[in-house]
């Protein structure tokens, strides 16, 4: 890696146009052993012990010129039946003119909170094994539209002793079902718009807190009579991250509101999590709490939106800067049932 970095850096530092784009290829993956006991609302408890191969996330970063770059990210994963699925997660070209201004076009991470942009598919980067429920991917029961196809503007500027960063985007928005990110066309004229503002202070520790908002009109689902009209979606959120000598605190909360003209109902869903990581060495214990208060009857989410709480306690050990071992106990409670699990994971970058 060092030799490659040196070559790339020499050309990059020289500031001259290269003959070809300078490509860096990296990725993330993980392997997890899970021992679980599932107590469903009806029927006997089910015990399971399984190895699970995580997502094989491959991303390409390419410097096209001093100010122009490309990032492409593809995930290869196996579904429950063992079939292999390939998803294009991100593909965007970015023009960065200064610290205060950059514009990207393509498929990006929606600027919602901290976790979604900071960790996303990087299991090695995230503090816990499990993702917070609200921030699971669209095809995994997640609540939020975590990907967007459109235009994104971003920047950071000093404000006193702080830094104010902003990310805004205009995108196609969701498709008729939660799993669908509209990549090729937008089924309605309304564009999804999002804005995230964060105040950060860096020093021996880091402090960041911010807010975000998201507006969209979800197109009707012609296959579902209960979804015969557009649903107005509004999402508000707040996030905070505090990193200090003896630990790190991460917290986010979201409120999702759907106005459905077919049923005449308004559906509000609240989700949030808190993670506290202690210590500053290679071995760091952590605890977390994750909660979703869902309002039933939402025609967009259907049965996927159900009350959920989870408590997590674990230990992460940095085997190497590019490989983290995590041991995690998790208790999950959902409507009428609960599940306990003990997990061991190696998550790495390559």
């Amino acid at each position: 890696m060092t030799a490659f970095a040196l070559c790339a850096g020499i050309a990059g530092a020289a500031g001259a146009d290269a003959l070809t784009p300078q490509i860096s290829i990296h990725g993330f993956s993980d392997v997890t052993l899970g021992l679980t006991r599932d107590n469903p609302p009806a029927g006997p408890a089910v015990n399971d012990a399984s190895f699970a191969l995580g997502q094989f996330d491959l991303y390409i970063v390419s410097r096209l010129s001093e100010n122009l770059s490309f990032l492409g990210e593809t995930v290869i994963e196996t579904d429950a039946s063992g079939a292999t699925v390939i998803d294009l997660e991100r593909a965007f070209v970015k023009f960065a003119w200064s610290d205060a201004f950059a514009v990207s076009a393509g498929r990006t991470h929606t600027p919602l909170g901290w976790w979604n942009e900071a960790y996303h598919h990087g299991a090695m980067l995230q503090p816990t094994i499990a993702r917070p429920l609200a921030l699971r991917f669209e095809d995994d029961g997640g609540l939020l539209p975590v990907h967007a196809v459109g235009l994104e503007l971003s920047g950071v500027a000093p404000v006193g002793g702080w830094e104010a960063s902003w990310v805004g985007n205009v995108a196609n928005g969701r498709g008729p079902i939660p799993d669908e990110v509209q990549a090729g066309a937008d089924l309605n004229r309304h564009k999804a718009v999002a804005l995230k503002l964060t105040l950060e202070r860096h020093g021996d520790g880091d402090l960041a807190f911010g807010v975000n908002g998201y507006l969209d009109h979800i197109p009707p689902d012609l296959a579902d009579p209960a979804r015969g009209a557009e649903i107005r979606e509004r999402i508000g959120g707040a996030h905070a991250r505090l990193r200090f000598g003896r630990g790190e605190l991460l917290a986010e909360g979201f409120l999702v509101r759907h106005d459905d003209p077919v049923s005449g109902g308004t559906f509000r869903h609240r989700a949030g999590y808190v993670v506290l990581v202690a210590g500053e060495g290679r071995a760091r214990p952590y605890v977390g709490y994750d909660r979703l208060d869902a309002q039933g009857g939402d025609p967009f989410y259907g049965a996927a939106a159900a009350d959920f709480t989870a408590g997590t306690a674990g230990l992460r050990f940095e085997l190497h800067p590019f490989d983290t071992i995590k041991l995690e106990f998790r208790h999950e409670a959902f409507e009428g049932g609960h599940r306990n699990g003990l997990f061991a994971q190696t998550a790495f970058s390559f």
Binding site: F4, G9, I10, G15, Q22, H26, W97, P321
Partner: protein, 167 residues
């Protein structure tokens, strides 16, 4: 950012001129052996940065000298005294954390190429010479290459009483 402005020297201007002349010649009178100096590409118009700004640059948080001109960090070699000082005293971090930061920045699309890692101070300065916007940290005894120059930190040069890059 202040670093795009003219320098604000807190020390005696006459002394700074003498030091600047000496630095331009590649030597640092009065500089201690345990001091480190910041070198940049000669075309950079910035004369001085604050220590906080220097931290932001080497932490890859500040990415541009000015509009249109990105900062290219050249890292001293792993295991070298310059690298150890840079990571411990300037970045206030560890080498392992530096590796992880680079992974995070590239994954988030905040960096489009890994920084160069020069095998020696001399090689680091050579890399700066052919660059439009590079920065590195070397031991004070290193000789400048044509097309590079020193950068003051908090208005101080090596040898100044309050120079912050002293081990």
């Amino acid at each position: 950012m202040d670093c795009s402005r003219r320098p604000r020297f807190r020390s005696d201007p006459r002394r700074v001129l003498v030091l600047a002349a000496a630095l331009a010649a590649g030597s640092v009178p009065g500089a201690a052996a345990d001091e480190y100096a910041v070198a940049v590409s000669g075309s950079i118009r910035v004369e001085s940065v604050t220590f906080a700004q220097l931290q932001q640059m080497f932490r890859f948080q500040k990415r541009f000298w000015e509009a249109g001109r990105p900062i290219d960090v050249v890292l001293p070699a792993t295991g070298s005294e310059s690298r150890e000082f840079l990571v411990r005293r300037v970045m206030r971090s560890t080498d392992g954390a530096l590796h992880r930061v680079l992974v995070e920045k590239m994954y988030r699309g905040e960096m489009d190429t890994a920084p160069a890692e020069a095998p020696s101070d001399r090689e680091a300065l050579r890399l700066l010479a052919g660059s439009r916007g590079a920065i590195t940290l070397v031991r004070v005894g290193a000789a400048l290459e044509p097309g590079t120059r020193w950068l003051a930190v908090d208005g101080q040069k090596p040898g100044d009483p309050n120079y912050p890059l002293r081990d």
